[in-house]
């Protein structure tokens, strides 16, 4: 560079050029000096505020570093990190999360061991529970011990019934619960419950299971779910509802949260993350206690404790790696932890911070620490995920009455063993068979690609060059050129993901084989087709699709016909009818879930007031829950079909009706002979796509049934494959499953379109 500069120094223009380049270089260096570190985290809003301040302070102290934070919800941050780091070697520098991420991250090889970055002295400053070791390596540095459940109670409501302290045993818990369960206005409906909590979720059941001496897995990570403790704990929770009547019949997280927060429940079992909200509530005089001892066994309930802390990206190197370590040390440092603890009553992992007077004397933290001392660490091996997925349906079936506690215990063990096996499937593959099937698959792929290219050539390139027989060259060129942009756009996006899934569906890709998966042939398809659940949920999906689409079309066309005439106030009615499409469905679907609540939901109240119907348990009974999801989806889908039909009606000439009227045709005849046939060309594409979308509509099912509840029975195929395969990292199986869905839909659509001659024109 310098030599070049000397040679040409005479020329002014070159000098100027050099100057500009020089300036650019300098500014480039200045820019490069500032490193941006990325941190992804699932912190709820209050902790997020603290994190923001800490990061701002760090940036002030280190002007050459900027830290970029990205919030994602717990599961989403895990999945986003896995795709970004596991599949593209990118992703954030640091990941914050609970310790139960560890097992899966290690199995997928996407987390860096940390023991070399810390001296033994440094590590000794932490509570050992705050450091997550797995298979001999340190993977997570915690800044908080958390997620433990404890008993929150409302002192005001306690005082109203003459209680002055929290219950100290399970027996007392039930007695207190009875005192606090009140029908204040005497209308036969309970207005205040003694105890609420998200009792349908196994995580919130764990303390009770442990209080009967049970635990989820043994030392070798084998599930231990079929025992007396499980049966007794099932009975205990069920009796609280059915015998003692101190908890609502239906209670998920949001119901429990809303009831306690508005002063409509005396006690609540909830985790450390939630307490801050209740401390601020005007309806709650906050009290916190440890979960009371089980009189029968003399054991304390043991909630699960998760360390929350930082994981490091494995692809970091050199200086950047050092910078990330420094940042991590700052964020898990004493001052940072003090901030969180003093403001949010979290339990610091640094022992020194715990001893500072402001922390040590905080009553909430004291109780919290006591509760943690009685808890047990959440297992961090990936098996835990399979166990949750097995416990959930069993437990919910017991609560729903379709299984006895004994059957529930047997069932959850059986499913857990099966799911753990599935989690580690695909490790023992026969090498010879693998090689042969790989060759076959690649050959088939090659042939397919050649065939597709040939077809493409005949369909598009040839008409472009030579024209179509019977049509002028110019004309055919015009046609192809008009289709091409859209086609390139669509297929440019779709082709890679499609073939990626096709290849994966022939492979053994799973949790332990993400990095070294192999083509194994058709065995994933075999597994899909031999699973009886596939057919069960297929039938359900067909019912779901048919009912939904039929109702969408009938109501949509009906409303369009009503609106397709001169009518005062039509404009405003039309917009009001379109609203379900305009408001984001991720909130309205949840609202519908609330409206299906057994006691307070609008649906039951309206049915009861106007039609005298007894309260229906919409969300507890599997069939009713399925109907509830259908009702919600019908509500969501009508506006779309209405708009399509309104558009279609515009293409029908009025003269046809006039002529028909003169010939004496009735309104019904006119509808059948004129409206329907002429509406068809516009409606058929919408109906076909409506069927496809409804068939694969995971969102509504997931939101209304809260992920398939009760007991994973309210699924359609796509939500089932998400729960049973994708969620357990069974990528190969999930891809094969999805291809089966795809093939079925494609076959159906061909038939449907041919039958309705949708590609033909009406004239």
């Amino acid at each position: 560079m310098i030599r070049y500069f000397r040679k040409r120094r005479k020329s002014l223009s070159h000098f100027l050029l050099q100057l500009i380049i020089g300036l650019l270089l300098v500014s480039g260096l200045l820019g490069a000096e500032k490193t941006t570190l990325h941190l992804w985290h699932p912190m709820p809003a209050p902790s997020r505020a603290v994190l923001n301040e800490l990061v701002a302070e760090y940036e002030r102290m280190n002007p050459d570093i900027s830290v970029h934070l990205l919030y994602k919800e717990n599961e989403e941050v895990r999945m986003a990190y896995m795709s970004a780091t596991g599949f593209t070697e990118g992703g954030p520098d640091l990941l914050y999360g609970p310790s139960d991420f560890t097992g899966a991250l290690v199995e997928m090889n996407i987390v860096k061991p940390l023991e070399d970055f810390f001296t033994e002295d440094e590590l000794s400053e932490f509570d050992p529970k705050g450091l997550t070791w797995y298979q001999g390596h340190l993977y997570q540095i915690g800044d908080e011990l958390g997620n433990h459940l404890a008993l929150v109670y409302n002192k005001r409501l306690f005082a109203e019934v003459g209680l002055d302290r929290p219950p100290e045993s399970m027996q007392e818990l039930i007695e207190y619960g009875k005192k606090l369960t009140l029908d204040k206005d005497g209308d036969g409906v309970v207005d205040q419950y003694g105890l609420v909590w998200n009792f349908t979720e196994p995580f919130f059941f764990m303390p009770f299971y442990a209080s009967y001496g049970g635990w989820v897995m043994d030392e070798d990570q084998n599930p231990t779910l079929n025992n007396d403790a499980a049966v007794k704990a099932f009975e205990f929770v069920r009796d609280m509802r059915d015998v003692h009547g101190i908890i609502p019949i239906e209670c998920d997280y949001d119901i429990a949260d809303s009831k306690f927060n508005t002063g409509a429940a005396g006690m609540l079992i909830n985790g450390a993350w939630s307490w801050a909200k209740y401390m601020e509530s005007p309806h709650v005089d906050f009290g916190l206690a440890v979960l009371p001892i089980n009189n029968e066994t003399g054991l304390f309930p043991a909630p699960m404790i998760a360390t929350k802390g930082y994981y490091m990206n494995p692809y970091l190197e050199g200086e950047r790696e050092q910078q990330v370590v420094e940042l991590m040390k700052f964020l898990t440092g004493a001052d940072a932890q003090f901030q969180y603890a003093s403001r949010l009553a979290t339990i610091p992992t640094r022992l020194e911070v715990r001893e500072r007077p402001q922390i040590a004397e905080d009553p909430v933290i004291m109780t919290s620490i006591e509760q943690v001392s009685r808890g047990r660490a959440m297992p961090i091996s990936p098996q835990m995920r399979a166990i949750w997925d097995a416990m959930r349906p069993a437990y919910q079936n017991v609560l729903g009455g379709s299984m006895t506690p004994e059957e529930g215990a047997v069932y959850q063990q059986e499913i857990a063993v099966q799911k753990v096996a599935e989690l580690f499937e695909g490790q023992d593959v026969d090498q010879d068979a693998v090689n042969i099937s790989a060759i076959i698959v690649y050959l088939a792929g090659l042939l397919l690609a050649i065939w597709a290219l040939y077809k493409l050539f005949v369909a598009f390139i040839l008409p472009l060059v030579r024209g179509i027989p019977g049509v002028q060259v110019q004309e055919s060129r015009f046609g192809v050129l008009m289709v091409a942009p859209a086609a390139i756009f669509i297929f440019g996006v779709v082709v890679y993901p499609f073939f990626y899934n096709l290849v994966i569906s022939f492979s053994n890709m799973g949790l332990t084989t993400v990095n070294d998966w192999r083509i194994i042939g058709l065995s994933q398809y075999g597994k899909v087709l031999t699973d009886s659940q596939f057919y069960h949920f297929f039938l359900r999906t067909v019912i779901w699709t048919v009912v939904n689409v039929v109702l969408h079309v009938i109501f949509g066309v009906m409303l369009a016909l009503l609106l397709n005439r001169p009518l005062p106030g039509k404009g405003i009615i039309r917009v009001l009818l379109i609203l379900p499409w305009a408001v984001p469905s991720y909130i309205t679907a949840l609202t519908w879930r609330g409206m299906f609540n057994i006691d307070y939901g609008a649906v039951n109240i309206i049915l009861n007031k106007f039609f005298g119907v007894e309260p229906i348990s919409w969300l507890i009974d599997p069939t009713n829950a399925f109907i509830a999801t259908i009702i919600t989806n019908v509500w969501l889908g009508i506006p779309f079909m209405m708009i399509i039909a309104l558009g279609g009606l515009q293409s029908i000439p009025q003269e046809l009706y006039e002529a028909a009227s003169i010939d004496g045709a009735t309104a019904w005849q006119q509808f059948k002979k004129i409206t329907l046939p002429l509406l068809k060309p516009v409606m058929i594409p919408a109906i076909t796509l409506g069927i496809v979308w409804t068939f694969n509509n995971i969102n509504v099912v997931w939101l209304v049934s809260n992920g398939g509840q009760p007991g994973d029975q309210t699924h359609i195929l796509v939500s089932f494959v998400y729960r049973a395969a994708f969620n357990l990292y069974r990528y190969g199986y999930a891809a094969a499953f999805s291809f089966m869905i795809f093939i079925m839909l494609a076959l159906f659509s061909v038939k449907f379109m041919q039958k309705n001659k949708a590609t033909e024109t009406a004239y």
């Binding site: 919030y71 939630s274 008409p463 009503l562 991720y586 409206m595 796509v718 291809f739």
Partner: protein, 277 residues
């Protein structure tokens, strides 16, 4: 159509009233959540306006969060998608309706096929693809994906509508000396305005409320589109319901405005019939 009698009017209004009540009640519940203090999703009261109602959540959206930026970002992305959707679908739909070329049936069908694969399974490869094309953290990546998801329906819908417009119209124009494209642009396109409205609405909505892909592509808070911004109020078990609902209502306002504006053209009162008859 025969004149509507008074009784018929009454019946029509009664039916429409019921439909409107059914359609807006759940949305009124969302509004209730948004003006209720204290972050509660559920309530035991049926009243729409709570006693202690407040607009705090709406104010907080703009003071504590870059909500204005998110709105702008969303408008930018959605407008581009809408424009792309309308342009490409109106042309491709026309060709598919009017020309008989060898790949026609296959094209029509393969458009549908792209909608059939469960979307959850496409996310990972889409992410890998975008990241190897360096389209992560760009709106381009988002716009391309949104357009390609909206287009298949739009093309079909345009094609279906063109099918109902008789050839005689273009032929007349061609005889008068108009080029193939001018006949399409000047004669057919205006007649297809109901379908254009549907196409515009559909491509708008598919981009406006989408968050799953957006959450994969955009990593910077000041680049967020509205739906991901909205999702940041939602957390596993600690959702800020008030903000979430208020945000959802604000998200719907531009959508409603667009509906109001466009549905005028949906019922365009075009005189198609005189030519057809």
């Amino acid at each position: 159509m025969k004149k509507t009698s008074k009784l018929q009017y009454f019946m029509i209004y009664a039916a429409l009233f019921m439909a409107v009540a059914w359609s807006i009640y759940p949305i009124l519940r969302v509004i209730t959540i948004s003006i209720r203090p204290g972050d509660n999703l559920l309530t035991e009261s049926l009243s729409i306006i709570p006693e202690d109602w407040t607009f705090d959540n709406y104010i907080k959206l703009f003071t504590d969060h870059p909500f204005g930026t998110w709105i702008w970002n969303s408008i930018l992305v959605t407008a581009t998608v809408m424009l792309t959707g309308v342009t490409l679908a109106s042309t491709a739909g026309y060709a598919l309706s009017r020309f008989r070329f060898p790949g026609r049936e296959a094209s029509l069908f393969s458009l549908l096929v792209t909608q059939m694969f469960p979307a959850t399974m496409l996310l990972l490869p889409l992410f890998i693809m975008l990241s190897s094309l360096h389209l992560i953290n760009t709106y381009l990546g988002l716009i391309v994906i949104y357009s390609s998801t909206a287009l298949p329906f739009c093309v079909w819908s345009m094609k279906g509508y063109y099918d109902t417009i008789p050839y005689s119209l273009e032929e007349a124009a061609r005889i008068d000396g108009a080029s193939r494209f001018m006949a399409f642009y000047k004669i057919i396109l205006p007649l297809a305005s109901p379908a254009l409205v549907i196409t515009a609405l559909f491509s708008f909505m598919s981009a406006w409320t989408e968050y799953i892909v957006a959450a994969q592509v955009l990593w910077y808070e000041d680049m967020f589109t509205l739906p991901i911004g909205l999702k940041s109020f939602q957390a596993n078990m600690t959702t800020e319901w008030g903000l979430y609902a208020a945000g959802a209502m604000i998200v719907s306002i531009p959508a409603i405005a667009l509906f109001l504006f466009l549905t005028k053209y949906l019922i365009g009162g075009l005189t198609l019939g005189s030519v057809k008859g």
